[in-house]
């Protein structure tokens, strides 16, 4: 059994990367592999509350967030004081890390995959 970090950094609305990264996280969890998530860059927009997407924007990925706990995916990290989340109402299930812990995060896993 290995522990894995899925790092989402792509916009959920400009490519399938975010969706396919989340798909991998769900499959790992289904196979009972410990998996954590972290968000940075354009992927942070997935965490914004009150999204009003249309069919053309693709699958409503933000609706997946509330279901992550059912897959035992409990650790969803973001960097504290990030400009993209500072004054925005975001999904409450994240854990904010200060810069030092954020940098250290990527050394704590056997596998880190970025999407």
């Amino acid at each position: 059994m290995t522990n894995t970090l899925i790092h989402l950094s792509s916009s959920p609305y400009s490519s399938l990367a975010c969706k396919e990264g989340l798909d991998l996280a769900l499959v790992l969890a289904t196979f009972e592999q410990p998996v954590d998530l972290c968000f940075s860059g354009a992927a942070l927009s997935l965490l914004y509350n009150h999204q009003q997407t249309t069919k053309e924007d693709g699958k409503h990925l933000y609706k997946l967030l509330d279901g992550l706990e059912f897959y035992d995916i409990d650790n969803i990290y973001i960097e504290r004081d990030n400009e993209l989340t500072k004054e925005v109402d975001i999904w409450p299930g994240t854990k904010a890390l200060d810069q030092k812990d954020w940098y250290a995060l990527f050394s704590q896993y056997q596998h880190v995959f970025r999407f």
């Binding site: 059994m1 290995t2 894995t4 399938l16 990367a17 396919e20 798909d23 991998l24 499959v27 790992l28 196979f31 592999q33 596998h111 995959f113 970025r114 999407f115």
Partner: protein
């Protein structure tokens, strides 16, 4: 890490004779990135050390487009799909394409072609469609997975 640094790292590792059990995850499009090309170069370097074993290569996201048999690159250009097929024929390294990512992008084998009642299929020789569960198996049976994106 940049691909050429990875290859240098690997060659240095070879000098130290530390055998590794690798698998590769390739996620970058063969048309928008050099991920498929860099992974191929890495694999060739890794195979220089006979003690290294390559358990398989898993293509995900747009990288699955590498398995499209219908592509016809200009004759004076490097055919990266053909290069992968030649490599797997020579070294018997399994090349897996994520089935969900492939089907949505039109990379269809005979079985899926029948399932979706399509008149043709497009999967290249040398590649096979597998679920993400196969990738989880690779993660648990190797010492190192390297992603090319």
């Amino acid at each position: 890490m940049r691909p050429f640094l990875l290859v240098n790292l690997l060659l240095n590792c070879n000098k130290a004779q530390n055998p590794m059990h690798y698998a590769l995850l390739v996620t970058g499009s063969p048309y928008q990135t050099k991920a498929c090309h860099s992974a191929l170069k890495f694999l060739k370097a890794a195979l220089l050390n006979k003690e290294n074993t390559l358990e398989g290569v898993f293509f995900y996201e747009d990288a699955v487009l590498i398995g499209n048999a219908l592509t016809q690159p200009p004759r004076d250009e490097f055919d990266v799909r053909k290069a992968w097929v030649e490599l797997t024929n020579e070294h018997k390294i399994p090349l897996y394409l994520c089935i969900a990512a492939s089907v949505r992008r039109g990379i269809i084998n005979e079985t899926e072609s029948q399932r979706y009642e399509l008149p043709q299929h497009s999967l290249s020789e040398g590649f096979q469609l597998e679920g993400l569960g196969t990738f989880v198996e690779l993660m648990n049976s190797t010492t190192k997975i390297i992603q090319f994106r």
